[in-house]
Amino acid sequence: MLKTFPKGGVHPPENKISAGAAIETLPLPTTATIPISQHLGAPSAPTVKKGDKVKVGQIIAQSTGFVSTNIHSSVSGTVQKIDDSIDASGYKRKAVIISVEGDEWDENIDRSPELKKEFSLSGPDIIKKVLENGVVGLGGATFPTHVKLSVPKGMKADVLILNGVECEPYLTSDHRIMLEKADEIIVGTQILMKALDVKKALIGIENNKPDAIEVFSKLADKNPGIEVHPLKVQYPQGGEKQLIKALINREVPSGGLPIAVGAVVQNVGTALAVYEAVQKNKPLIERVVSLTGKSVKKPANYLVRIGTPVAELIEASGGLPDDTGKVINGGPMMGKALNSLEVPVTKGTSGILIIPELEARRRPVQNCIRCARCTQVCPMGLEPYLLMTLTQKSMWDKVETNHALDCIECGSCAYTCPADRPLLDYIRLGKTTVSKLIRARKQ
């Protein structure tokens, strides 16, 4: 039987329509808008100013703390300005705006396509290299990778879990890199294993990607310590806690991190970025983005420079379909609708999904009919209907004692609710309020 997590979960239509499209390189944009906050944690501090010439791979914003990272120019050209620019949330945030001239790369970057297997760096040096090159988790949360690799004192990792699940419907960027960059991902995995000082790595791949499973099983046979595990197609299989439970049957304690049970989870895309950073000295300046949707003329997977406006990806796939209702940054379950197409692709953009008008709108909210489906599907064993009601009534202490902070925001509850209640919207509000209260209490 296929492995999976034991509690809850849903199975939305997979719709992986762009799975067959090989990765294409998107032409350079004319201007690149590179936000200084593309990761979880403190925004980076710009190191360039208006009028500066930059090359591809040059640092343009420096990390400002432990949980922060460097940001590099993804293009060569002149810094037009450092100014507020609309980001995926629709708010204006600071970004370095560069007008592109040519494509001149920093000399230290090895651009040859050869696979470089040998590496001699020590663990701490690898972590340093990862930070220098601005690598963050590419699964969507964009948590700086060097932080995840720096195991806190008194804890020890014994297994690395590589997340090749891609459980979000529609998205196929991880699937494509697993097919096209498998060797690099394996070397990246070995580098990560060295950095964490673990002997074992498990790669979890959902069973709807048999080709990727086959490629990796073959490679795993040649590389001791690496195992491949096909997983049942079930959302949110790619959640860290769900994946750990499914693969090694350990339960991350409430409020704890995976490292508490000796596991570190990294996305396959991150493993690739780590390979490029350590072996090729190449910073995280481009990533694979799926451009997909039912009415899109040419669903595709593009290799895109960070800072390219979303509009250019859509243009490359034949323009915005006439029946467009929403353009979503990410997948249909966890993604957020964009309100401008000038928003740039950032480190965390895994896909752009165009939803037709007919499917885009939410239905009107009705009263809870106490069917308990939300509690059945919640992979964290929470009671979403209760958390929503408590939040509406501002009963924050109860929101806290009912473990709102354990919610992984997978959206299974809202997806499944027959009364179309905006469960996750309210639970998120409950979470932010409770975390604020906890922070205030600690001071």
């Binding site: 507020d84 609309i86 949330s89 629709g90 708010y91 204006k92 509009a311 859509i314 915005l320 467009t324 929403k326 353009v327 957020k336 609708a337 964009l338 309100n339 401008s340 197409l341 000038e342 709108r361 939410r362 909210v365 905006p422 919207d425 309210y426 998120r428 509000l429 932010t432």
Partner: protein, 338 residues
């Protein structure tokens, strides 16, 4: 009467008497002293339990009043000065009279002046919407129109105007309890002194983007041009982050700033209509003109836009708006919006 009945009555009464005696002594022994003045103060408070004073309900406030040495720092916005005078009388202390305050909404971006560029259909809650994204309009600082403030107002002083999409403060009902000020995720409410004859002047905009950028989203935004600052003879206006703020204490309600604002972002409430040619005839005349016509209590000029219709026509005719829209927003986002 049968013996059983008599026995029952007697024994139950006996139990009652014994229990009462025990309870009396227990009550004496464990008596918690409570200052009787707390009850007396509680009596004179309005009993709204709104928390506007900063204490948990009226009784909490009464306790605080009794405990405090001076009443300076304590104020019940609902009861106002009269109520505080009563409290002071009960306690034999001195009450400091405070200017009554009233909530004003610092956003004038109605549906027509600040058109929607996309559609929100998430949970109907301002905080959720504002945590999620910039909002339905081109302005990421303005009112979201989902009425969270209306929900928290205990005094029925706020209603949502479906026409404009903005909440309206009912000046007669607003007690200045501060609840809406605290609730609004965009910090759009401010408590301002009620003002002489209920007259108030304030900047109805909180947008802190650069001037040109906010003009795209809203017709009546404060663009931080500093003209009002130069005009004000009393140094009452400061512009910070491209957004003007009028200090209600320094402001002498002369209305000159209202005239110079190019976008009509400065609002005047409860002033009599202007004489048509007042401007040319020297500024000093105006206050007199005001005195001459005391009566209009209607909210004459809810917004500059209404006060000066010519200007509005020039700015907000629907065609003009849609043209502007086309210039400034890419086709795609219009499509997205609709």
């Amino acid at each position: 009467m049968s013996a059983t009945v008599i026995f029952t009555i007697v024994s139950l009464s006996a139990i009652g008497v014994i229990a009462a005696t025990i309870l009396y002594f227990v009550a004496q022994k464990f008596k918690v002293f409570e200052d009787p003045r707390i009850d007396q103060v509680d009596e004179v408070l309005p009993g709204a339990n709104c928390g506007g004073c900063g204490y948990p309900g009226c009784r909490g406030f009464a306790e605080a009043c009794v405990k405090a040495n001076e009443l300076d720092a304590l104020f019940c916005p609902v009861g106002g000065n009269d109520c505080m005078a009563d409290v002071a009388k009960v306690l034999g202390k001195e009450a400091v009279a405070k200017d009554p305050e009233i909530a004003v909404l610092r956003c004038a971006g109605t549906h027509s002046l600040r058109p929607n560029v996309n559609q929100y259909d998430g949970a109907a809650n301002c905080t959720i919407s504002s945590n999620l994204y910039g909002g339905e309009t081109g302005c990421t600082f303005g009112c979201l129109g989902l009425g969270e403030c209306v929900d928290v107002c205990n005094f029925d002083a706020l209603v949502m105007d479906p026409e404009t999409g903005l909440p309206v403060v009912d000046a007669d009902k607003c007690t200045g309890c501060n609840a809406c000020v605290e609730q609004c995720p965009r910090d759009l409410f401010e408590l301002r002194p009620k003002g002489k004859k209920d007259r108030r002047i304030y900047v109805a905009c909180r947008n802190m983007e650069k001037g040109a950028a906010k003009k795209i989203g809203c017709e009546v935004a404060c663009i931080g041009c500093n003209r009002c600052v130069k005009e004000c003879a009393f140094d009452a206006i400061v512009v910070e982050n491209f957004n003007a703020y009028i200090d209600p204490i320094k402001c002498k309600l002369c209305r000159k700033c209202v005239m110079v604002c190019p976008t009509g972002a400065i609002h005047e409430l409860n002033f009599p209509p202007r004489k048509v040619k007042v401007e040319v005839e020297g500024e000093a005349e105006k206050p007199k003109a005001v005195k001459a016509k005391p009566e209009p209590v209607v909210e004459v000029a809810a917004s500059k836009a209404e006060a000066q219709p010519e200007r509005v026509v020039e700015k907000a005719s629907p065609e003009a708006l849609s043209n502007k829209e086309n210039e400034n927003t890419s086709d795609q986002s219009i499509k997205l919006g609709e």
